[in-house]
């Protein structure tokens, strides 16, 4: 399953809830303010680092750029994808769960 998260982890429990419920092998895509969840060295980095042991975590490139976040500020292992990558993830998974 593909899980998308569009809220900052500092403002909302969406990312925490998503990572708690997502199964191993899931794809997690951070979009909009959700991309702040990919920041290295933040108060919420640890839960994403833990998730990366069993899931793939992606962040949407255009939303990172809009917020001034360069790729080298992300937690190692978080992969940057474009809108085309978003489409690929949506079609590769049987379901898309949006944590709003």
């Amino acid at each position: 399953m593909l899980h998308t998260v569009n809220k900052s982890p500092f403002e909302s429990s969406s990312l925490r809830t998503c990572l708690a419920l997502a199964r191993a092998g899931s794809d997690i895509l951070l979009i909009e303010d959700g991309v702040y969840g990919g920041l290295a060295g933040s108060a919420h980095s640890t839960m994403v680092e833990d998730a990366l042991k069993s899931m793939k975590v992606y962040a949407l490139g255009p939303d990172l750029k809009a917020r001034g976040l360069a790729e080298d500020r992300l937690i190692p292992g978080v992969q940057v994808v474009g809108y085309d990558g978003f489409v690929d993830l949506a079609s590769a998974n049987d379901k898309v769960q949006s944590w709003l």
């Binding site: 569009n6 809220k7 900052s8 500092f10 403002e11 909009e32 303010d33 702040y36 920041l39 290295a40 060295g41 933040s42 108060a43 980095s45 490139g61 255009p62 939303d63 750029k65 809009a66 917020r67 001034g68 976040l69 360069a70 500020r73 474009g82």
Partner: protein, 135 residues
């Protein structure tokens, strides 16, 4: 002439996911015409508003972050950023836009507008204000 009051605009939201930041900035720029003692506070995700290098071209949104540079020209030159909020987000002062203002009482010397303050200092600043507006 009415007395000057101390106004603080508190910014607690990240810049592009919601409209709070953009609307708040517009209100500050409009309110600057009223010649009050104005400052801005950036707390929590609000610190992301001042992040350098924002480029919304690929996301198809308006990039309003260059407008923060106009604040100095409107004599809005006290931008308090909470240090703890930066640290929790893996950021430092070097990640913020280098915003400045020109001091007419000091031969138009260019001075920094951003002041990184501790949470305790931010608490004191809140107490000093006559009016606080939230975005």
């Amino acid at each position: 002439m009415s007395e000057t009051k101390k106004f603080m605009y508190i910014n607690r939201h990240a810049p592009h996911g919601t409209v709070y930041a953009h609307e708040g900035l517009e209100v500050v720029l409009i309110g600057a015409a009223f010649e009050q003692d104005v400052c801005m506070a950036f707390i929590g995700d609000g610190v992301f508003q001042l992040k350098q290098d924002q480029d919304t071209s690929e996301a198809g949104m308006k990039n309003f972050s260059p407008a923060y540079r106009a604040l100095g020209d409107y004599e809005v030159n006290k931008l308090y950023v909470e240090r703890e909020s930066l640290q929790e987000r893996g950021l430092s002062e070097a990640d913020l836009m280098p915003l400045t203002w020109e001091d007419e009482d000091d031969d138009w010397a260019e001075k920094p507008s951003i002041r990184v303050v501790s949470r305790a200092e931010m608490s004191d600043l809140l107490e000093e204000q006559d009016v606080i507006l939230n975005f």
